[in-house]
Symmetry: C2
Subunit: 316 residues, 2 copies
């Protein structure tokens, strides 16, 4: 079973309006509300492709109850820890294909609630083969929350994938996840900021070099997403690059979650490298065309998959 952890889930609300204009009143033509947060989206994709999955995390308030109801209705198994704070909403207003976003701040989690989650997680992790840790941390959690959860999984020989940003990502990487999945921008920003403390500066290939730093910081494998350009994957001393089919455009958030879902499936099934990387690119491409995250177009996936392959890169 694949356990996905979403510590800051959301209700993603999409409004369609004719044309957005600051300081005016708009009639919303169409409303779509769906469960969100990276881990929830990964779980929805895994469930859709028939993988055994369980969703956990922290969830509160009336919006949280609605998220739970919708996941139940979709048949996705959930086991959240309830918190006092209200689950955040994201409101995306779409006009003529362009999006204007409003992100609620989300709840503040108390130390007692975090303590209850750590206990709950320790029980669930024994049932899992792979744990996916995705997304931002809500206010109130320790910055090393993902590191704590990765160490618990490792103690039970459960594999881990980490997809986050900022301190939560970098402290998590130090706890040695099986796969870290930063995006190229996050990596560039961090490595520039810590250039003075990196003992081995990047040598050679522009993309493989920075990714290798992530291995040095603790991750057992790293997959760096370069958006429309594709992926770079490294494990041990092997490196691969996978070009994206030219068709990848659209929903970048959805594509990232589909990439993680593919990697989780491969880790769960023991698929040897580099096949998971090609699969991740095909899944991303098949998700990017959907208007909302957490959905993969199976036909697109099946059509593209045979044409995508990983290319070995020189070790640096």
């Amino acid at each position: 079973m694949i356990l996905t952890v979403t510590l800051n889930p959301a209700l993603d609300v999409t409004y369609t309006v004719d044309a957005i204009s600051a300081h005016a009143t708009h009639r919303v033509r169409h409303v779509v509300s769906q469960p969100g947060g990276k881990g929830v989206n990964v779980a929805r994709i895994l469930h859709a492709v028939g993988e055994p999955v369980l969703v956990t995390g922290l969830l509160g308030g009336v919006t949280g109850a609605f998220v739970m109801t919708q996941l139940d209705a979709a048949g996705v198994p959930v086991s959240f820890v309830r918190i006092q704070g209200e689950c955040r909403r994201t409101v995306t207003v779409v006009d003529a294909g362009e999006a204007t976003g409003f992100w609620e701040p989300g709840p503040t989690v108390t130390p007692a609630e975090w303590g209850r989650f750590v206990e709950h997680y320790a029980a669930l992790v024994r049932l899992a083969r792979v744990v996916v840790l995705s997304g931002s941390l809500p206010t109130g959690l320790p910055a090393d929350a993902y590191a704590v959860l990765i160490r618990t999984a490792a103690a039970h020989r459960v594999r881990t994938i980490l997809d986050s940003s900022g301190e939560a990502l970098w402290l998590g990487i130090a706890a040695r996840p099986d796969i870290a999945k930063p995006d190229a921008e996050e990596l560039a920003e961090r490595l520039a900021a810590t250039a003075t403390v990196v003992s081995h500066p990047c040598i050679g290939d522009d993309d493989v070099g920075p990714a290798r730093q992530v291995l040095r910081l603790g991750a057992r494998a790293v997959v760096v997403s370069h958006g429309r350009r594709g992926l770079v994957g490294l494990t041990g001393d092997q490196a691969w690059r996978v070009a994206a089919p030219e068709a990848i455009t659209g929903n970048a958030a959805g594509a990232g979650d589909a990439c993680v879902a593919a990697l989780a499936r491969a880790l769960h099934d023991g698929t040897p490298w580099p096949a998971p990387l090609a699969d991740a690119v095909a899944m991303s491409a098949a998700a990017a065309g959907a208007p909302v995250a957490g959905v993969v177009d199976q036909d697109t996936y099946c059509r593209l998959r045979p044409y995508i392959a990983a290319t070995a890169q020189a070790a640096t």
Copy 2:
């Protein structure tokens, strides 16, 4: 008891952001969610000033359940008819004092649901002395919905106040409500559109004349709100004007609901004209300063009330 009817209630969500910009993503600094819809706001004000009130209407979905929970928590008695459709939300994004609004379309009500409401209302109306009918009609209701409810109230000798717009207002006025409360813009628009069918064109005073047309169309009394300028009130052959104190600026929607609340209280207590008009202006002024509708600042009300009086106008 005052029964307020809200056929299209809402959850009013207010977001505070630093500066709104089309096609960008915004971190919401502050979120406030509260029950809305004109009738609900009128009831909250009446409850706050100690009047016996009961809220009814049509309410559905998870958002509807949240609205109910919040009214319960505020101690406002409710007796809604549950419907299948999801209660609408309004999202108002505030930056530097300016507001950008997004109004969800709201549910579609089935004929069976409307039938259940009409029955439920007929039972509640026997307990009431005054019925307040406020706001827009949701999709699926007959345009003469307010006319039906006004006739039912009249059959039980229960007094009615109608505050709506468009066809719902004008068909309702034909059913002879005790007070109709159109705003000046609505009146100007309608009278211009129907100029050819009005047998007695306006004569004399610019503001009293159009208001008198509303009496001719069926209302027993009419109160026309002129926003910051104040009110014009007519009943039988008497007419009054009440100037607003110079301080009235701000929340126009909140001011309108406070005006209706004051008129409902006066009708309930049998306060003779024109005192209700002066009271309505004081209540509006005391509500206009609040950032959200449904709230009246009691200190402002008490400070302003002694200085506000109605001035008799020449009959036209």
